[in-house]
Amino acid sequence: MNHRQKEQYLRDYSVLKNQGKPFWPYAVAKDGAMAIVVVAAIMLMSLILGAELGPKADGTTTTYVPRPEWYFFFLFELLRVIKPPYLVPLATIGIPTICMILLFLLPFYDRGPERRPERRPIATTAGVFTIVAMGYLTYLGAAAGSPNEIDMNVPASVKAQGVQAARQFEAGKQVVAQSGCLACHKIGENGNDGPGPHLTEIGDRLPRDAIAQTLVNPTAPMPSYAGLKESDPQRFENLTAFLSELKTQD
């Protein structure tokens, strides 16, 4: 805006302001009504939906589902959309930081005098696109399947190794299900496609020791399983055994 446009705006605004009504009591009455609606809505939600409290936090167990508050879903889903590992920092920090800076600086790069949304096509389109994208990502996050169920039979290659191996495979599958690994990983038809890599054929790609090593010392943002290894080595063994048997089936 140049000097003339600024003067023009201030003049127009002061005319509109003078034609308006006083803040007290007109605007205060509206704000007050809105405040009552807001507090009533919060009270109703509290009465109807309550505040659940899950089991106590325990760093050594793995029975958890790492799920953020719903309004962080769009950030979490960004991790699923962006797959390659070298791009993960872009999804976790890069895009949110860039969006934040763009948001902060909005009035400094959008300095046109026009204020009507229908006459600012670029700004309005960008705004609508942002809202739709965030809404869609939030919906994806809310609709993600339960990460605690795995529908999978013991493969023939494991059955061939005897009853003991098959039992360990089943036990390991339980650990994976309880740990909510499927919130971020895909095994066959189960689970979610990202942020973590596919585990369907992880046994082909990594030897068992390497899998154990990755569980103890994972790539962020995956939490470490060192606690499980210390507190319950048998369950940890079952987990690595299960994962190392996930191979291509002929």
Partner: protein
């Protein structure tokens, strides 16, 4: 004592008090009480000088065309006040250490008087506040209200949005159940993947390289002391600038010359 003449609030004509007829009796008890009230307010104002500020804040005009969309900002502030008040009552029972935190939340939910109700209000109030802050922001964006001369108020608003998100991130850990614990572990790990400052930020949040008992007290201090103070101060600055520049008129309204002036011209 000098008498202060208070400015008459511009109330609708129907509610305006009718002046007393001169022959009516003048000195009832109500008149004396009114005199005493005005005297007391005058005494305080003589020492505070706040009446000018009050007039500036309350008797300013709001432009023509202001509609219900313009209540979203104050609604966000009321949601924040709800969080502050319920938060104080939760803090009376909450014990911010890793051993007792979960037990104290369980006590609030199951035993304290109205405990579950207040905790529910705090929990759902955060969702409501986030929704309202986004709606308020959308209104500001689509109405072009962030433009001259209100650029800095937009910047303050974005800072408030980020602080609100930080509030809900730090508050999510406090019940200290499995869900909040592991979601926060992942959240802090996500911070750690950032370039340059990432690892330092996650170390600062955890209070060390590992997620330990100290992490909870840290999140509690950030949630209780650091961010609420910053939010309250920024809301103050936000409101000051809103009052100074005035609320925007809807962009479709164009200023017209005073009808009386126009008739004179013709």
């Amino acid at each position: 004592m000098p008498k202060l003449k208070l400015p008459a609030p511009p109330i609708p004509p129907a509610l305006k008090p009718t002046p007393r007829r001169p022959h009516e009796h003048q000195h009832t008890a109500a008149d004396h009480a009114k005199e005493a009230g005005i005297g007391a307010i005058g005494w305080v104002d003589e020492r505070l000088g706040a009446s000018g500020f009050g007039r500036w804040l309350l008797f300013r005009k709001v432009p023509k065309g202001t509609n219900w969309f313009y209540t979203l900002g104050s609604a966000t502030m009321f949601a924040f006040l709800n969080q502050a008040i319920t938060g104080v009552f939760l803090a009376m029972y909450y014990d911010p250490n890793a051993i007792n935190a979960y037990e104290s939340v369980r006590y609030i939910s199951n035993e304290a008087f109205l405990g579950e109700f207040v905790r529910g209000m705090h929990k759902w109030g955060s969702s409501v506040m986030v929704i309202l802050i986004f709606l308020h922001m959308a209104r500001t964006f689509f109405f072009g209200a962030y433009k001259y001369p209100r650029e800095l108020n937009w910047v303050i608003g974005v800072a408030l949005l980020i602080l609100t998100m930080a509030m809900s991130f730090t508050g999510y850990l406090l019940p200290f159940d499995q869900r909040s614990y592991w979601a926060t572990v992942v959240g802090v790990n996500i911070n750690g993947t950032g370039p340059l400052v990432g690892p330092y930020l996650s170390d600062f949040l955890r209070g060390g390289p590992d997620f330990e008992a100290i992490t909870l007290s840290r999140f509690y201090a950030i949630h209780m002391m650091m961010i609420p103070g910053a939010i309250a101060a920024l809301i103050g600055a936000h409101l000051y600038l809103v009052t100074k520049h005035g609320t925007t008129a809807p962009p479709w309204y164009k200023a017209e010359t005073d009808p009386e002036l126009r008739t004179e011209k013709e």
